[in-house]
């Protein structure tokens, strides 16, 4: 959300988000950049009341000023849109290290989320991916920035990001980074508040193994969170698979058939992973609920 829009920022903690990105970049006009920096510390405290993680998206043109404005207790990471060179990332890393020290934050706390969201970023990916140990996730592309650099329309139903997404996922995995996997569900409306599309996208992403989504409108938060959370029937099925696998294992078998479906250690691992993810989602939901309740109680 644009950090200079108090209506968005003040209501954010009530939205039920797992995370927030406070934007200093494209949604803030040039004339308000300096003013926007003065808002970051309060905005972090404000949105974090909802229990979600907080990230700030900075400008590649103002790395030092933006980093100094953004790093405060409660921040989990920085995002640099339009990342182009490893020198920019190294400068960002050095600035983060300095400000962490100055503000008494544990060194290395702040992660860097890179967005090589242009053709130039894709071409530079192999340099960028290891340019800082703070980079834990890499390679997500798509959206208006990438469409701009490809010179293509959004919302045509054509998957113009097939190559950069595929290359980005390979480079991320090859360098032991996570990749923000996102299923491609055709969007021909471009509406940022389309809850049905957000849900369909989230379900498809979860089924592919993805765990993250992002949006620009409060309408999509609930559907996206629901879609990325394993539903009760999948949790029950995963528990059944795992129980069957444990039984096989106890009998010294390496594989068996459950309702006509083969179950082996890979299936068991997948089921265990789903259960862990479901547990993490439930914990996050409970945490957010508690945080919102405490904040409301404090206000009343």
């Amino acid at each position: 959300m644009p950090i200079n829009n108090p209506r968005f920022v003040n209501a954010a903690w009530t939205r039920g988000c797992d995370g927030f990105t406070l934007d200093l970049q494209d949604s803030v006009p040039q004339s308000q950049k300096a003013y926007a920096r003065t808002l970051v510390q309060d905005a972090i405290r404000n949105v974090a009341q909802g229990g979600g993680e907080v990230q700030v998206r900075i400008n590649q043109a103002y790395i030092e000023a933006d980093v100094a404005a953004a790093i405060w207790p409660g921040l989990s990471g920085l995002n640099m849109g339009h990342t182009l060179t490893s020198d920019q990332v190294r400068l960002m890393d050095a600035c983060v290290s300095r400000v962490e020290r100055e503000r008494g934050l544990r060194p290395g706390t702040i992660e860097i989320d890179l967005s090589p969201d242009s053709v130039a970023g894709t071409v530079a990916s192999e340099d960028l991916v290891d340019s800082s140990p703070r980079v834990k996730s890499f390679g997500g592309v798509g959206g208006y920035d990438y469409a701009l650099s490809l010179g293509v329309e959004m919302f045509t139903g054509v998957d113009a990001f097939f190559y950069p997404r595929g290359l980005g996922s390979l480079i991320a995995r090859a360098h032991h980074k996570s990749f923000p996997l996102s299923a491609q569900v055709a969007d021909t409306s471009g509406s940022v508040s389309d809850a049905d599309h957000a849900y369909a996208q989230a379900v498809a992403t979860r089924k592919l193994g993805g765990r993250r989504g992002s949006g620009l409108h409060p309408n999509v938060v609930g559907p996206m969170t629901r879609g990325l959370t394993p539903p009760p029937e999948e949790v029950a099925e995963a528990e059944r698979v795992l129980a069957f696998w444990r039984q096989l294992d106890a009998e010294g078998e390496a594989e068996g058939m459950l309702d006509g479906r083969p179950v082996d250690r890979y299936e068991a691992a997948r089921a265990a992973e789903l259960l862990e993810w479901a547990k993490a989602c439930a914990e996050m939901d409970a945490y957010k609920e508690r945080m919102v309740a405490e904040t409301r109680a404090g206000l009343s």
Binding site: M1, P2, N4, N5, D23, Q25, D26, S27, V28, P29, S31, Q32, S118, V119, A120, T122, V123, Y144, D145, A147, L148, S149, L150, G151, V152, E153, T156, V158, A160, F162, Y163, P164, G166, L167, S189, G190, S191, V192, S193, D194, L216, H217
Partner: protein, 309 residues
């Protein structure tokens, strides 16, 4: 501001350079560029090319000659002459392939008294190695201003029998598009299925395929048939509706900035920010360049008509 190529090259028609009637017809079909495929025989090439070159330029098209890199020296001797805009280099696999050709081209420019670096090189990527090395190829020289993918040849190189049912070249196509655009040059291609299975097709079919090509990032297409040209020119030119839409975007964004916000709601539930406004600026600029290019070609045809009359 995003660096982008200023070139307009929406339709590149390949024609048999020994067939004067075909060349004359090609020049009337309104392509942005024509590639003359020269006769195999060098002596025949020397005879055919000067006349073909003159005829091909009558409609205002840029004119290229396709050469065989194994016989590059002899063919360039015949091909590089006043009026020629560039050379098509099939199947380059490395920057060294381009450099070898460039040395000969530079020599020929001097011999012919042409401006230094005036002859363009258009790589036609048709092998797996060429696709993999596209970055070094497109960046090998400033003479390269666009790069094209030859899907017929690529299928042969990969031992793939193309079918309309399956698109197996998405990754290769994406690589050429991304690397060529990153080098601030134009990627050319029409994509699945017509690129790997070229055939005469009606306007609407070519338009549909070319629309998808544009929405994948291609900026123009190689046309093996004159019947494709109008559809490609149309598909790779922003429509009047698009221009109107993007003018409305620019207006709404400017109003948003004046109000102190760069995240501006737009009808239809869309949100405009900097990249959307920048895209709008580029589309309008691209449309204006297409209009200028069309006017140049119309003027060339008109001049030619007056001479004929």
């Amino acid at each position: 501001m995003l660096p982008t190529s200023r070139l307009v090259r929406r339709s590149v028609l390949t024609v048999d350079g020994a067939n004067q009637a075909a060349v004359a017809s090609a020049s009337r079909a309104d392509p942005d560029a024509i590639v003359l495929d020269p006769p195999e025989d060098l002596a025949a090439m020397r005879v055919a090319l000067p006349e073909a070159l003159t005829a091909a330029k009558r409609g205002g098209a840029e004119v290229f000659v396709r050469i065989d890199k194994r016989r590059a020296h002899a063919q360039l001797k015949a091909a590089v002459r006043p009026g020629l805009d560039g050379i098509v280099l099939p199947d380059p696999e490395s920057a060294a392939d381009v450099a070898r050709l460039e040395r000969i081209v530079a020599d020929r420019e001097r011999e012919e008294g042409l401006l230094e670096d005036s002859i363009e090189i258009l790589p036609l990527l048709g092998t797996p190695r060429g696709i993999w090395n596209v970055r070094e190829i497109v960046n090998a020289t400033a003479r390269i201003r666009c790069a094209a993918i030859d899907e017929v040849q690529l299928c042969r190189s990969l031992a793939i029998v193309p079918t309309g049912e399956f698109d197996v070249l998405s990754f290769s196509r994406g690589r050429v598009i991304v690397e060529t655009l990153a080098a601030v040059k134009l990627p050319l291609g029409i994509g699945h299925p017509l690129a790997a299975l070229p055939r005469e097709a009606d306007h609407d079919e070519v338009l549909g395929v070319a629309d998808r090509a544009r929405n994948s990032g291609f900026k123009g297409a190689l046309c093996p048939f004159p019947g494709w040209i109008a559809a490609c020119n149309q598909a790779f030119t922003p429509s009047d509706e698009q221009v109107e839409y993007y003018r409305a975007i620019r207006k709404a964004f400017a109003e948003g900035i004046a109000r102190g916000t760069a995240a501006v709601p737009f009808p239809g539930g869309r949100m405009i920010d900097v990249p959307v406004d920048e895209r709008a600026r580029l589309v309008i600029d691209w449309w204006e360049r297409c209009q200028r290019r069309d006017a140049e070609k119309a003027a060339a045809r008109s001049t030619q008509g007056e001479r004929t009359a």
